[in-house]
Structure formats: structure tokens, C-alpha cells
């Protein structure tokens, strides 16, 4: 029996992987507390001249902190729009058969496969034409391209797990459809809605190509501000690292709140 020896080694695999995962993040964090001189001068494993200067710059300069605000606005807007329109559609796919339902579902999914690069230029033209260029709504709408299919997919999975008897009983009890949907059905699939929101938030937060293409000043996301800094104001690496570190924070918050649903959501939601 070499089972005891093996069972000691088992946790080593995830532990090593997590270490590998945290190293680059540590390096980013480390750099964000250094001065530009220290970064370019000596190679140090931790900041010798610890400074919060980079963070102070970000929190006091509106071109920096408005980037976060802009990103948070369009991400929230996108999450609300995507999940709201996906809910009735997912209900239709999970409960009814109608002309062309299968084709429609597959067609929706193909939109997830569309490379964002393909759409960058036409999107720029389209949103300029309708006068939405450089607005939060433009980015929020553009991101529905890949988030709506995903939300429909996740919600359909959760809804199919709810027995149809629930609907029938409610109608027998005299509920109208909107009242049933709002009072009974939505609370039943609350976990699914949470998981769908999480993924919409995530994919909208991390996308940059479309967000950058569709904004100039007013709605420019933080990620785009960063690329500008990198190219125009030379190598302000400490500032860049601090800005990067701060983009991890909202994600970390969101994961923390949905930590118990992540595994479940994947399993139930047939993602």
C-alpha cells in the first residue's frame, strides 16, 4: 500500500498550479508599489522603496479613475440588458416548441463564435451612424453580441431543470403569466440568474477590442486608458502596474460573492 505517500502528494498539484497562477499577479502587485527608477534600475523581488504614489495618481486624476467608472457603467448596463432579454427567450426555448426553434438556438450560439476582430470595423461604422459612438450604451449593446447567447444558454439549462408542473400548478391556481413569471418562476431560478449575471459581468469586463473601438473620451474604459499610457507617455510601468492591479479588484469581489455558485452553476447550467 503506497496510498498514504500518494495522498500526501495529491494536494501538491493544485498547490503548484495556484503558485504558478499567483506569481505573475504578485509581480504586477510588486511593481505597482515601486518607483519607476527602482523598476528600471535594480532587479528586486520586493519593493525596497515602497511607494503608494502610483495609486495616488490614479485616484486623483480623472482620466484614470473615470476609466474605472466608465467600465463599471457599461458592464452593469450590459449585464442588465443581456439577462433581461435572455430571460423570456430562455423560457421560450425551455418550455415551447416553435417554428425554427432549433435553428434559432444554434444561430444564437454562432454569434459567440464570431471573432470580435471581424466586427470591430463594422461596429465602429454602425454605432457612429446611429449616433451612439463614445457612449456607454454603445459598448453595452455591442457586448450583448456574445453575452446574450451565453445568458440564454445558461438560463435555458437552469429553467429546464425546473419541472413544468410548477407552471401548470400556478396557472391552475389562477396566476396570470406575468405574475407567475415574476412571483414564482424567477425566484425559483434565482441561482441561475446569479450565474448568468456573473458570466455576463465577467465577459463584458474582460473584453477590450470592441470597448476600445467604440469609445474615444467620454466612455473610455480603464483598460483602454492603460494602452494609451503605455504608448504615449513612455514607460510609466509603476502606474501601469497599479492600474492593472486595480482592474483585478472588481473581479475578485464578484468571484468572492458567487464562490458557492461557481461549481454548481457550471454543473447545473450546462455551460
Amino acid at each position: 500500500m503506497n496510498r498514504p505517500a500518494l495522498s500526501y502528494l495529491r494536494p501538491l498539484v493544485p498547490a503548484l498550479y495556484i503558485a504558478f497562477m499567483l506569481l505573475p499577479i504578485y509581480w504586477l502587485l510588486n511593481m505597482s508599489f515601486k518607483t519607476t527608477n527602482e523598476i528600471l534600475g535594480d532587479f528586486t523581488l520586493w519593493p525596497r522603496a515602497f511607494t503608494l504614489e502610483n495609486y495616488v495618481t490614479i485616484f486623483t486624476d480623472p482620466t484614470w479613475y473615470m476609466g474605472y467608472v466608465n467600465a463599471l457603467i457599461y458592464v452593469s448596463l450590459n449585464t442588465v440588458i443581456s439577462v433581461t432579454v435572455a430571460l423570456p427567450a430562455a423560457y421560450a426555448f425551455s418550455r415551447y416548441r416553435f417554428l425554427g426553434d432549433k435553428h434559432l438556438f444554434f444561430w444564437l450560439l454562432t454569434n459567440r463564435m464570431a471573432p470580435a476582430a471581424v466586427f470591430a470595423l463594422p461596429f465602429f461604422q454602425l454605432y457612429s451612424a446611429v449616433g451612439l459612438f463614445d457612449t456607454h450604451l454603445a459598448v453595452a449593446l455591442a457586448h450583448t453580441l456574445f453575452n446574450i447567447p451565453l445568458a440564454v444558454w445558461i438560463l435555458e439549462g437552469f429553467m429546464s431543470g425546473v419541472p413544468r408542473q410548477l407552471d401548470e400548478t400556478a396557472y391552475v391556481d389562477g396566476y396570470s403569466f406575468p405574475r407567475f413569471f415574476g412571483r414564482i418562476f424567477l425566484p425559483t431560478i434565482a441561482a441561475g440568474i446569479g450565474v448568468a449575471c456573473f458570466f455576463c459581468f465577467m465577459f463584458s469586463w474582460v473584453e477590450l477590442l470592441l470597448a476600445k473601438t467604440l469609445t474615444a473620451v467620454a466612455a473610455k474604459p480603464i483598460a483602454a486608458t492603460m494602452t494609451r499610457t503605455a504608448s504615449t507617455s513612455g514607460y510609466e510601468l509603476g502606474l501601469l502596474a497599479a492600474a492593472g492591479t486595480l482592474t483585478i479588484v472588481p473581479g475578485a469581489f464578484v468571484i468572492y460573492f458567487v464562490r458557492n455558485y461557481i461549481a454548481k452553476g457550471f454543473a447545473l447550467g450546462r455551460v
Binding site: 528600471l40 532587479f43 421560450a92 415551447y96 416553435f98 470580435a116 470595423l121 463594422p122 474582460v206
Partner: protein
């Protein structure tokens, strides 16, 4: 479950249809429109037929980009899927470490893609990066901004870092849904660790793994921001994947016709390969 036929269900789908049509159909038509026209930059367009498509399909540049794209996609799939499964298998099933593992592992998934590129850039740079310093300190000659091999190594390490967690989460979700009785029965039947994996865990994970492969396949084919920030497609064209090449043609050179034709061919390739993957895996499941 038999579903009731109800054509009014279209009303439920309508908002989704309008939004997606606005976002997908109009731009796609724009692309199709460009792909069959020739312009000289003064807003006058001429019918060009399938000229651009022929050009793109015969262009060695496109072939090279496609080949690099396929190499990249299959390499990361070959690493991320087995690695993700291995990590999911060794992760604790219950206890305080479960949420800790899940939360830390989900972290890279929520970092904006250009920040992922930036993180790896400063992590791997030979002068100021930890990885660059360590590798050079160990005697490797490593500089990903100059050596195509090092650039590929860094690119793949970055994608593994970025996306293996997704495979882990999916595989883990599949694993925790297996009732304890299956493991107990296997123990009683004298099954080896390998047999437990082969006959219990792998079959139960099949569905989520199909999804993992599909998602990773589609997304890696669409990858743009991370490699663009990390290497900018270089050195030379050595890490210029399809998307990067496309943006170079469309925005860099403003060759709208060829760029549009390339977009469509590219989109069709993703669609076709995804469809082949999907049907192959589903057929496997049914038989």
C-alpha cells in the same frame, strides 16, 4: 419532456432577435458588402466579385497566419485540457480549501484581456521580469521580444495561465456531481486508480469536457488582445495569429475589401470546425 407547440413563443424571443440582429446581422452585411467591392479611398465602390476571396485564399500570408493559428489552438488544447482535468482530480472535494481553490483559480478569468497581456509582458521581460530574470539566471538565453521560440513559449504559458482555470472549474463541476456510491462500488470491485478514472470519472466528465473543448477552441481561435499586448504579433510575424493579421490588414492598411473577405473566411472556418467538433463529440455520446 415533451414541449408544447406554441408559435407565440416567438414573441419571447423577439427582443433577443432584434438585439442580436442589430449587432450581428447589420455588421455582417457590411462585411459581406465590403468583401465584394473595390474602393480607392474616395467613397466610390466598384463591384469586385469574388476577387478578394480568391486573393486571400491564395495568399501565403493568410496560409501562414492560419497555420500559426491552428498550431496555437491545438497546442493550448493539448496542454490545458489534460492539465485542467489533472488539477480538478487532485483538488479537495470538501472542506475549507474548496472555496479558497475555486476563488483563486477563477481570478485570471476576470482580469481584462489586455491586462493579462500586460502582466505577462512585465513578468517575462528579460530585464525587469521575474520569469525573464530567472530563466536567464538559470543559463537559458531567453528574450521573447527577439526570439520567435521564446515568444511562442511565453504566449502559450500565458494562455495556459489565463484559461486552464476554466477547464478546471468545468471538470471539477463534473467531478463533484458523481455520487460517493460510485467510488465505494469501485473500491469494492477492486478497481485501480486508473480504472476509476477511466470508467467512472471520465465518462461523468464527458459532457462538461465537451463544453470545455468547444469553448476553448472557439475562444482561442478568436484570441486577439492578449497576444497583441504581449508580443504585438512579433518578433517579425512569428506570433501573428489570424485576428492580429486581420486587424493589421483592416485598420493598419485600410484594405477593407481583403480584410472583409478574410473576416468571412475566418468566421466560416471557426463555424465549420466548431460544428465538426460538436457533432463528433455528440455522436460519440449517443452511441
Amino acid at each position: 419532456m415533451t414541449k408544447t407547440v406554441n408559435q407565440k413563443a416567438w414573441l419571447f424571443v423577439l427582443p433577443v432577435l432584434i438585439l442580436v440582429a442589430f449587432n450581428a446581422f447589420i455588421p455582417l452585411m457590411t462585411v459581406v458588402n465590403y468583401s465584394v467591392q473595390e474602393t480607392f479611398g474616395d467613397n466610390t465602390f466598384f463591384w469586385a466579385g469574388l476577387m478578394w476571396f480568391e486573393d486571400v485564399l491564395h495568399s501565403p500570408r493568410f496560409h501562414d497566419a492560419l497555420l500559426r493559428q491552428l498550431t496555437f489552438t491545438f497546442t493550448i488544447l493539448a496542454i490545458e485540457i489534460p492539465l485542467g482535468v489533472a488539477i480538478a482530480l487532485t483538488m479537495p472535494r470538501r472542506g475549507v480549501w474548496v472555496p479558497v481553490c475555486l476563488v483563486t483559480m477563477a481570478l485570471p478569468l476576470l482580469i481584462p484581456w489586455n491586462v493579462v497581456g500586460a502582466i505577462w509582458n512585465i513578468f517575462a521581460l528579460p530585464d525587469i521580469g521575474l520569469l525573464g530574470q530567472v530563466l536567464n539566471g538559470l543559463g537559458f538565453d531567453y528574450n521573447f521580444t527577439r526570439q520567435p521560440g521564446a515568444a511562442w513559449f511565453t504566449l502559450i504559458a500565458m494562455d495556459v495561465w489565463h484559461w486552464t482555470s476554466l477547464v478546471v472549474l468545468l471538470a471539477y463541476a463534473g467531478l463533484v456531481s458523481i455520487p460517493d456510491a460510485f467510488y465505494q462500488a469501485a473500491k469494492i470491485d477492486g478497481a485501480s486508480g486508473w480504472a476509476i478514472f477511466r470508467y467512472i470519472q471520465l465518462p461523468k466528465m464527458k459532457r462538461v469536457l465537451t463544453i470545455a473543448v468547444l469553448l476553448r477552441f472557439m475562444d482561442s481561435f478568436n484570441i486577439y488582445t492578449e497576444p497583441f499586448v504581449l508580443t504585438g504579433g512579433g518578433p517579425g510575424n512569428s506570433t501573428t495569429l489570424l485576428s492580429i493579421d486581420l486587424v493589421k490588414v483592416a485598420l493598419g492598411q485600410f484594405d477593407l475589401g481583403p480584410a472583409a473577405a478574410m473576416s468571412l473566411i475566418y468566421f466560416l472556418i471557426v463555424l465549420l470546425l466548431s460544428w465538426v467538433f460538436y457533432t463528433l463529440m455528440m455522436r460519440n455520446e449517443d452511441s
